[in-house]
C-alpha cells in the first residue's frame, strides 16, 4: 500500500516529487515574504502597510527544506512598520532607523532625543503575543503593541523611569516632550485610523481621563505632603469640588484633582488633569512643575499611575 506520508512506501520518483514539492513550498514562502517586505517598505497605502506588518509579525520564513541564513527578526518588522507609519503621516524624519553592519538587526532612535535613547521591539514569548517597545540601555518597556489583537498600551512605570527620572538631569523638558509626542502620535494613528484599543495612560490629555494610582486607598499623609509642598511654591491645595479629595489650580487654567472616585465601597483614588484645550496630561504636569514631580517621585510606591495589569502585571 502506498502512503504519501510515509517515504518508505514511496517509489524513488515519488520521493523526488515530494522533495521537489517541499522545496517549491519553501520557495513560495520566500516569495510571499519578499512580496510582504516590498509592501512593508514601499506601499503608500496605510491599510496595506498595516496588513503587511500584521502578516510579517509572526511570519515563519524557514521551512523544513528551505532555510534562509540571513534574516531579520520579527521584532525588526515592527520598527520598520513604525517608521513607515510615521512617514505616511509626514513624520518620517522624527525617527532614525539604523541597521548594524554585517548583521541583520535594526535599532531606532528618536531624532529629537538623539543618542540618549536607542529603541527596539522585544517579542513577547508568552501566548499573549505582541511586542514591547523598549529602550535598550535601560530595558524600560515604554509600550506594548499587538497588531493581531489591535491593542496598544503605554506603560506609566517605564515612561516615568526613563523620561521623568533617568533623563531628567541631562535632557531638557521640551526635548522630552517632543520625543514622547512621536510615540503618542504613532498610537494615535493606530487608534484613529485602524480602531486600535489604545491606553494612553499618563500621556492622555483628555480631561475625562482618570489616572488611577497604585494605592487604591491612598494614605492621607500623601495629600498632606502635597498641601505643604504646594504652599512653599505659592500654590494652594484646596478641598476638591466633590468634597472627597483635593484640588490644585496650576498655571494657565490647568487644574489637578486627586480624589476618591468611589463614593461607597472599595476606595479608588485617582488623579485628573483639566485644562480647557485638553492638551495637558499628567506627564506634562510632571515635566513642568518640579514640586509636583518631587511629590510624585517621593511617593511613587503609592502614587504611581496604574498600567494595564494584564500586560504590565
Amino acid at each position: 500500500m502506498i502512503n504519501e506520508n510515509d517515504p518508505s512506501t514511496l517509489t524513488t520518483s515519488g520521493r523526488l516529487l515530494n522533495y521537489n514539492e517541499a522545496i517549491k513550498d519553501g520557495l513560495q514562502t520566500g516569495l510571499t515574504f519578499t512580496k510582504l517586505m516590498d509592501q512593508l517598505i514601499r506601499t503608500t497605502d496605510p491599510n496595506e502597510l498595516v496588513d503587511a506588518a500584521t502578516q510579517l509579525a509572526d511570519f515563519k520564513l524557514d521551512s523544513d527544506y528551505v532555510t534562509f541564513p540571513h534574516q531579520y527578526s520579527n521584532a525588526d518588522y515592527y520598527l520598520l512598520f513604525m517608521s513607515r507609519m510615521l512617514e505616511l503621516h509626514d513624520q518620517g524624519s522624527q525617527v532614525i532607523l539604523q541597521s548594524r553592519d554585517h548583521r541583520e538587526e535594526l535599532t531606532q532612535q528618536l531624532t529629537s532625543l538623539g543618542d540618549r535613547g536607542t529603541f527596539n521591539f522585544r517579542v513577547e514569548t508568552s501566548e499573549n503575543g505582541g511586542v514591547f517597545y523598549r529602550e535598550r540601555a535601560t530595558g524600560q518597556s515604554l509600550f506594548y503593541l499587538n497588531l493581531e489583537r489591535k491593542m496598544f498600551r503605554f506603560n506609566s512605570h517605564a515612561l516615568t523611569q526613563l523620561f521623568i527620572i533617568d533623563l531628567h538631569d541631562t535632557v531638557p523638558a521640551e526635548t522630552v516632550k517632543t520625543s514622547v509626542q512621536v510615540l503618542l502620535d504613532f498610537a494615535r494613528y493606530l487608534k484613529e485610523d485602524y480602531g486600535y484599543s489604545v491606553d494612553f495612560n499618563i500621556l492622555d490629555a483628555a480631561n475625562r481621563q482618570n489616572y488611577a494610582v497604585r494605592a487604591a486607598d491612598l494614605p492621607a499623609g500623601i495629600v498632606d505632603r502635597l498641601f505643604v509642598a504646594a504652599a512653599k511654591n505659592d500654590y494652594m491645595l484646596t478641598n476638591g469640588v466633590n468634597g472627597n479629595g483635593a484640588e490644585i489650580a496650576l498655571d494657565k487654567g490647568v487644574v489637578v484633582d486627586i480624589f476618591n472616585n468611589q463614593l461607597e465601597g472599595q476606595p479608588e483614588w485617582v488623579l485628573t488633569v483639566h485644562d480647557d484645550e485638553q492638551k495637558i496630561s499628567w506627564f506634562d504636569v510632571l515635566l513642568q512643575y518640579p514640586f509636583m514631580r518631587d511629590w510624585y517621585l517621593e511617593n511613587l510606591s503609592d502614587l504611581e499611575i496604574k498600567s494595564d495589569p494584564l500586560i504590565f502585571g
Binding site: G221, F227, T238
Partner: protein, 292 residues
Amino acid sequence: MENQEQQANAADALTQVIANKLDYLSTMQAAVQHGDDRKIYELLDQVRYYQEVKKTRTNRSVNHLAELVDNIHPQISHYLSDNLIDYLGHIYPFFYYEEFTTGMFHIYFGNWWDRRLFGDLDVINVRFEFDKTEYQKLRDSFALESQNQRLNTSKIEAISAESEKLQELVNAQPKRDNQKTQLREQLKENSGKSSMPWESGKVKTERQEIIDQLTQLADEDEKALNAHKLIKENDDKILVLSKEDTILNYEKQSIREAFDDFEHFEAHNASLYADYLNSLLGKSEGEVTVDD
C-alpha cells in the same frame, strides 16, 4: 363683693398679661412676614438691642417675653441665617458655614485642604463661638510672627536635629565596625599578655576598658538599626506640624487681607451684633413700627 372684685381684677390682670404675650407673638409674626430681621432681633433680646444698637442708658426691665420663642430658636436661627451669612460673607470672606442640623452652624476657616473646623456660629446672638484651642493657636501664631517664627518652628527644628543625629549614627557604621575590629584585636593581645602578678591589676583594668568601649559601640549599633524607623516617624511628625503651620499661615493671610491685623479682627468680632443690626436699619422693605 370684695371677693368678686378681686376675681375681676385678677381676670383683668391675666388678660393683660396674655394680651402682652399675644402682642409679642403677633409683632414677631408680622416681622417675619415682612422680612424685618432687625425687628426680630430686637424682639429676641430687647435689653441688648437698646444697649448696643440704640445706645440708650434707660434700663428697660426684663419682660421675659422672649422666652416665649425659646423652643423655636432652631427655626428662627435657620430663618435668620440667610441674611446674616450673606452679610458675614462680605466681611469675613474666609469663613464657610455648614448647617449641621436645623439652625446650628459649624464655621470652617478657609477652603484649603483640611481646613479647620473653627467653631460655631450663634445666629440668634449674632456671635462667633470659636473653638478655644484653635483660636489660641491662631493668636499665638500672630504673636510669634514678630519673632519671625511659626507656631511649630522650634518643635520642627528639635525633631529635625534628632533625625540628623540618628542619620549620623547610621553613617558612622563603617567607622564603628573598624573600631570594633581594632578593639577585638586589642582584647586578644590583652589576654595573651604574660600576667605577672604585679601586672595583673593593670591588665585587668585595660581589659575592662576595652570591653566597656565595645559595649558602647554595640549600643550605638542597635540605635542605628532602629534609626530608619525613627527617622520615618519623625518625618511623619514634621509633616503634621508643617501642615498646621501652613494652615495657620493661610489663616493669617486671610485675616490680614480682610482686617489688616488680628486686633482689628477681634474688634470687628466684638461689635458684630451692633454692626449687623445697624446695617439692617432702614434696609428692610416693610419695617414694622417700633412700639415705644
